[in-house]
């Protein structure tokens, strides 16, 4: 008799995991630490940290990611605050308006946005950096609003009232109570925006920004069949992202614990 076990339900995903996550990772690590002849080598690693091209790309990616994240945070926070704590009785419908664009493929959205930008600027090529930022902000804003909205909705109104009651103006209440208590939302919003912003080179391509970011750098090596250098950069990026996630999770964890 065939005995049905709940564990067997996990088999399809386990196969997927091995084939498309673990195996490619091992391949990346293998290529990263071998040379073109397949011998063990740290040359790729050394090259990454000594080449001005790769380090420059890393810095440029960081700058884009930081700028996009900061702008998203500054724009999303007031929106999330108004939606979560405002007087609107149908706040979830309002939220939909902000989140709705997420349902449309992002290349389509950026194609549309490009038309608007062309109307305003004439030639998109003159403002490559600005256009990159605008498109990325447009793309990632909902990912910042959602976690902020969730964390602000959870914030008990009596906290805000207690602040006002003890003599804080509404601005002081925002700085001293609402902001610190929404740190978990801020951190998960940053995670949702910062990491994709570092690698999303499709946006750069679409707005004719020819500067490399991490994503395009890796792509360029792979398309010239340099598997080894492409792999080591992927591995380094993976480690950076891993570190970033661990740090933010720890911060968010602290926040959660303090809030709950």
């Amino acid at each position: 008799m065939f005995k049905f076990d709940r564990k067997q339900l996990a088999i399809p995903y386990a196969i997927f995991l091995v084939l498309f996550v673990i195996l490619p990772l091992l391949v990346v690590i293998y290529y990263g630490f071998t040379d073109a002849d397949g011998h063990l080598s740290f040359d790729n690693l050394v090259f990454f940290f000594s080449s001005s091209k790769t380090i420059g790309t890393l810095l440029y990616s960081l700058v884009i990611a930081v700028v996009v994240t900061v702008i998203c945070l500054l724009m999303a926070y007031p929106v999330a605050l108004i939606l979560a704590k405002g007087v609107y009785s149908r706040k979830h419908s309002f939220l939909m308006v902000f989140v709705l664009p997420m349902w449309i493929n992002f290349t389509l959205r950026i194609t549309a946005l490009k038309e608007i930008l062309t109307l305003l600027e004439g030639n998109l090529a003159y403002h490559q950096f600005a256009n990159t930022i605008i498109c990325m902000v447009y793309d990632f804003l909902p990912f910042m609003i959602m976690p902020l909205f969730n964390s602000l909705t959870k914030l008990d109104d009596s906290m805000i009232e207690a602040g006002r009651d003890l003599g804080a103006t509404s601005f002081q209440t925002l700085i001293k109570i609402i902001l610190p208590l929404s740190v978990p939302g801020i951190i998960s919003g940053i995670t949702m925006v910062f990491l994709p912003a570092m690698t999303n080179y499709v946006v750069l391509d679409m707005v004719y920004n020819s500067t490399y970011i991490m994503g395009s750098l890796i792509g360029s090596y792979f398309s010239s069949y340099d598997w080894n250098n492409g792999s080591i950069i992927s591995a380094i990026l993976l480690i950076l992202i891993g570190l970033f996630t661990i740090i933010t999770n720890r911060l968010a964890g602290d926040g959660e614990r303090r809030v709950s």
């Binding site: 008990d156 009596s158 906290m159 009232e161 207690a162 602040g163 006002r164 009651d165 003890l166 003599g167 804080a168 103006t169 509404s170 002081q172 001293k176 109570i177 610190p180 208590l181 614990r257 303090r258 809030v259 709950s260």
Partner: protein, 483 residues
């Protein structure tokens, strides 16, 4: 002259409506003297927290004014009021430790560091948590959090401290302890306290003055003794402590007839006046059968620690008695109540009286009439006994009577109305908003969608919040011409 009895806060004609149609607070008037301990007592949804929030500045009144030492503060934001609040769920800031929570208000006022440390220390001493400065508020127990919340409020030396059901989250023993401590704190600090609770025992224990509220309106203001011994209406009698309530009628010589017997009372009302008589269970004396004013049979006796809750059936009427002795169910007993312990409440004549207006007369149905939610016809003889019908017209002394637009008062006796659980049946439908047990039946107040109240007597127990249909026999509806 020493101004010891100055009013700290006055509420004048305060109204509050959230939707612009129905008032959650109707015409609220209250004076609180400096140093008083005032308690707002009422069932949930009675508007007591709304009043507190308006005093604290978290809600603004729709009409009326809130005077603090003579100045209207009703539109000031909370941070501009010398008032502090202890919230129901404490609302301590989880990202700050105990010291920073308590010092929150002082820091905003840019208090000198040394003075601030001193004040926080004193506040912690008052709430009996010395040395807790560095603790995280999340590691504290419910009772400790409560104390920190009180310390955080009183450290600002407010003129008025508002406490919104602050003890409701604590367990029974802790609550008793905090009640006494709060009372002592009030004496020591000399700050005026306004305390909100739905727990009548808590209100009676702690307050100088109790404001009993129901349905957005003040039912009675008085000292705990006044509220308990002289309830102003049936609601207060029923809500505060246990009560036996009976419908009755006054007789000659301060006597009242109710519960199937005639009792001597100390209240003087005209003969024939409808009344409700209130007797506290602990005021009923159990005597030998035949020796009391009432005779009955014990139906149940439950031990409650210091007394037995004993129910005695006297004919149709049931009497709750708290007695020290145990009587087996089935025991025949006599019951006595001394005149002093019978509290007479005159029946509210405004109940079940509705302003209405007449329509046209027609020979088959009678005169059309409209009042409250009801449209019906009435027999013309009820209003115009001398009228006759001539050629289909109402005629008095040869003149045709025009009934359209004539104002009338419609009324009925609660015992003439009936309820059914089919809301579509009957003249009107509504929700049961309150009910009392009155000796041999329940008295229900049913509120329709248009906010009209109907009182209906029924011998069966229904639930508060049930939607029911109310029927009143057309012949039992009474009318008089409005002046």
């Amino acid at each position: 002259m020493a101004e010891i009895s100055k009013n700290l806060i006055e509420l004048k004609h305060v109204k509050k409506s959230y939707d612009g149609k129905t008032n959650v607070i109707e015409e609220f008037n209250l004076e609180v003297k400096e140093g008083e301990f005032v308690t707002f007592l009422g069932p949930s949804g009675c508007g007591k927290t709304t009043i507190l929030r308006m005093i604290g500045g978290f809600d603004t009144p729709t009409a009326g004014e809130i005077l603090l030492q003579g100045a209207d503060i009703s539109l000031l934001p909370p941070d501009k009021r010398p008032v502090n609040t202890v919230f129901q769920k404490y609302a301590l800031f989880p990202h700050l430790n105990v010291f920073d929570n308590i010092a929150f208000g002082l820091k905003l006022k840019k208090t000198d560091k040394k003075i601030m440390d001193q004040k926080v220390k004193q506040a912690l001493e008052i709430v009996d948590l010395e040395g807790f400065e560095k603790r995280s508020v999340n590691t504290l127990s419910g009772g400790q959090q409560q104390r920190i919340a009180i310390a955080r409020a009183i450290v600002n030396e407010p003129k008025l401290l508002l406490l919104d059901e602050p003890l409701s989250a604590l367990d029974y023993k802790m609550r008793k302890e905090m009640q006494l401590e709060l009372k002592n704190m009030h004496k020591k600090l000399g700050i005026t306290f306004i305390f909100v609770t739905h727990d009548q025992e808590e209100a009676l224990t702690m307050s100088d003055k109790i404001v009993v509220m129901a349905d957005g309106e003040i039912q009675q203001i008085g000292t705990p003794e006044e509220i308990y011994n002289e309830p102003a209406n049936v609601f207060v009698a029923d809500f505060i402590g246990e009560s036996n309530i009976f419908n009755g009628v006054m007789e000659d010589g301060k006597k009242a007839s109710f519960a199937g017997s005639i009792f001597q009372t100390v209240d003087d009302f005209e003969k024939g006046k409808k009344i409700d008589a209130v007797i506290r269970p602990e005021d009923v004396e159990v005597v030998a059968p035949g020796k009391g004013q009432l005779d009955g049979e014990v139906t149940s006796a439950d031990f409650k620690g210091t007394f037995y809750v004993t129910f005695v059936q006297c004919g149709n009427y049931e009497m709750e008695v708290h007695c020290l002795a145990h009587y087996e169910p089935g025991t025949k007993v006599g019951l006595n109540v001394i005149p002093d312990n019978i509290h007479i409440i005159p029946y509210d004549e405004a109940l079940n009286h509705y302003e209405g207006v007449l329509g046209a007369f027609d020979e088959n149905n009678g005169i059309a009439v409209k009042f409250a939610d009801i449209e019906t016809y009435l027999d013309y003889r009820k209003l115009y006994p001398s009228a006759t019908v001539v050629d289909g017209n109402l005629t008095v002394n040869g003149e045709t009577l025009v009934t359209e637009g004539v104002k009338v008062i419609a009324f009925y006796n609660p015992e003439d109305a009936t309820m059914s659980d089919n809301a579509k049946e009957g003249l009107v439908s509504g929700k049961i908003i309150s009910f009392y047990y009155i000796g041999d039946h329940y008295s229900y107040t049913i509120r329709s969608a248009s906010e009209e109240d109907y009182v209906v007597d029924d011998e069966y127990l229904w639930n508060q919040g049930d939607t029911v249909g109310v029927s009143i026999d057309k012949d039992k509806l009474q009318y008089k011409l409005a002046e």
